[in-house]
């Protein structure tokens, strides 16, 4: 029988420096952060990261020096970091290649990649600087094969004459997702919002899924209408309980307000962020050690979602 289960370290080794990568989830929800911390420990460099609304997942990679370029619509951690702090510092210092799109445009770009189309039309971005200003230089667009030759193109609809904006497809080497449940055969069950995970997965050559719980394939096949990613499109599965901490996983646990606040503070300077990485990424030898470092089982229990709500209504979001 097919068995796609590998370890976190093995999964990290599948992501080479220079790869194009997309990361699932949305702001402070359901990012594969345990896998991202393993990537940082492996010393991965020069990643080209595509996202729509990211949080301290992509921000962690930026701050750890793993990223060459980000193409995104938004980076923030809700009320804890209205602007993702490493993202802000690195762009202000000219230390990062970046390109801005809107969320609908990034959605369209991933959709085009998933559908095997070279572009997708949207009605957004007309009359804005998202069309007028480009983050990537003409030189990068000409010489870097991972950069689209043009940011976007305004065309007249051949049927009605209306203006529409075409945005270029995204295809990535890898898509990294974190979900609630998956089978060893690569069948995936997402609970709560899908965000853009399905399109991101289908726009990638290889999908690596980390999950809270490994379950029998038969169990997930009993309700096929709830499965949205074909298992043959998934390359590897890694069971990682609390694998999205400090972010939330619907029906499993809430975001960790204390840790998100600590992260937001640390990411405001190089020195403080280096100390953060030492304490939470390089220091702990594996994921179990990380969970101890952030407070251990007693603390993690305080984040547990209440059945029927999907989050913890008792969570104190202000210190």
């Amino acid at each position: 029988m097919i068995d796609k289960v590998i370890s976190l370290e093995e999964a990290a080794a599948l992501v080479p420096s220079g790869a194009t990568v997309s990361i699932g989830g949305f702001t402070s929800q359901r990012h594969p952060t345990a896998l991202l911390r393993a990537l940082v420990r492996h010393g991965v460099r020069d990643l080209v990261v595509y996202c729509h609304s990211a949080g301290s997942d992509v921000d962690l990679l930026i701050g750890a020096g793993c990223v060459r370029r980000v193409e995104a619509a938004y980076l923030a951690d809700g009320v804890f970091a209205p602007i993702a702090p490493n993202w802000r510092r690195f762009v202000e210092a000219g230390r990062l290649e970046f390109e801005d799109y809107s969320n609908a445009a990034m959605m369209a770009r991933f959709s085009a990649g998933a559908m095997g189309l070279p572009f997708f039309p949207v009605r957004s971005m007309l009359g804005t600087d998202l069309l007028e200003k480009e983050g990537l230089s003409a030189e990068v667009r000409r010489t870097d094969p991972t950069a689209a030759p043009k940011k976007a193109a305004v065309v007249n609809c051949p049927f009605t004459g209306e203006s529409v904006v075409l945005v270029p497809a995204i295809r990535t080497d890898l898509c990294l997702l974190h979900v609630q449940r998956a089978s060893p055969q690569g069948l995936v069950r997402i609970e709560g919002q899908e965000f853009l995970d399905v399109q991101q997965a289908l726009a990638a050559d290889r999908v690596i899924v980390t999950c809270e719980e490994l379950v029998d394939d038969e169990e997930l096949r009993r309700e096929p209408e709830r499965n949205r990613i074909p298992p043959f499109a998934v390359h590897a599965v890694v069971p990682v309980p609390f694998g999205a901490h400090p972010h939330s996983v619907h029906n499993c646990y809430d975001y960790d307000p204390g840790h998100l606040a600590l992260y937001a503070e640390a990411a405001r300077s190089d020195d403080a962020f280096r100390a953060y990485l030492e304490r939470f990424v390089f220091g702990p030898s594996d994921h179990a050690a990380y969970l101890e470092a952030v407070g251990g089982p007693e603390h993690l229990e305080t984040l547990r979602a209440r059945s029927g709500l999907g989050y913890n209504p008792e969570l104190r979001r202000r210190p």
């Binding site: 702001t27 980076l75 802000r88 809107s102 009359g127 709560g192």
Partner: protein, 256 residues
């Protein structure tokens, strides 16, 4: 008679009053979520909330801290994703009113949530558009929430992330945008609206204790003050609902 209230509470109430009963509302992170929850519990019990991350028509019990929060799914009609929210609901023309925030807002209600200064190496870099540029272009109308200071209200924004009335007149339509546009800018000092036709801004109301002249002094473009009234203060009922039902934890209220 009105109880003491904060500026943030007054803005939330003013924003809530922009929502009409039965409307479909696209609510962004922060004050708009409080405004929409307040509207549902007061004058617009039939308004429907849509969150860009995929929560559609929830019956929320607890305030979300961002639009992707699990709290946007309680009692929801659908837990969908960006595809449904942006393509089918927003671009498909099913959103009546969208709420937008921004670091800079200019004369014609264009918003900058991208960068101040040189775009490539800015003096301040923000989170970026997110769904704001999409909402600004595609919602039936928009309500903008902003902190009112002269440097944040320039004649022209440094970077136009979200289109308002562009350069006034019919420039929005000429840019190829089909409808929508800003109806109101609810600020820390008052409420700005736009004239039909010219799209020139005017001060509809200044908040209690704020003079129209002070609003003009804090604004980097000319405001017509001739019709400026006073923003109606929150009622006791509105404050009670905001403080005890919508945000009893003070997730947003206590930060302002």
């Amino acid at each position: 008679m009105s109880a003491p209230f904060s500026t943030f509470e007054l803005m939330t109430v003013a924003a809530a009053r922009e929502i009409r009963d039965g409307e479909v509302v696209f609510a962004g992170t922060g004050l708009p979520m409080l405004a929409a929850m307040l509207a549902q519990r007061t004058h617009a019990p039939g308004c429907v909330l849509v969150f860009e991350a995929g929560g559609v028509d929830p019956r929320m019990l607890h305030l979300p801290m961002s639009v992707g929060d699990s709290r946007t799914l309680t009692g929801a009609a659908m837990a969908a994703g960006l595809m449904e929210a942006f393509t089918y609901l927003l671009q498909g023309g099913r959103i009546d009113v969208g709420f937008l925030g921004g670091a800079q807002v200019d004369r014609y209600g264009n918003i900058n949530s991208t960068a101040v200064g040189n775009y490539l190496q800015p003096s301040v870099r923000f989170s970026g558009s997110g769904g704001a540029a999409d909402v600004a272009a595609l919602a039936g109308r928009t309500v903008i929430i902003a902190r009112h200071e002269r440097r944040r209200f320039p004649e022209r924004v440094d970077y136009r992330t979200s289109p308002g009335w562009i350069e006034g007149g019919d420039s929005r339509a000429r840019a190829g945008i089909r409808g929508g546009g800003p109806a109101a800018v609810v600020t820390t000092l008052g409420v700005i609206r736009f004239r039909p036709g010219t799209k020139e801004p005017y001060l509809a109301s200044a908040h209690p204790g704020i003079s129209p002249e002070h609003v003009q002094a804090e604004t980097g473009f000319p405001l017509d003050l001739s019709e400026a009234g006073e923003t109606p203060p929150p009622t006791r009922e509105e404050l009670e609902i905001l403080r005890t039902t919508v945000d009893p934890e003070g997730v947003f209220l206590k930060r302002h």
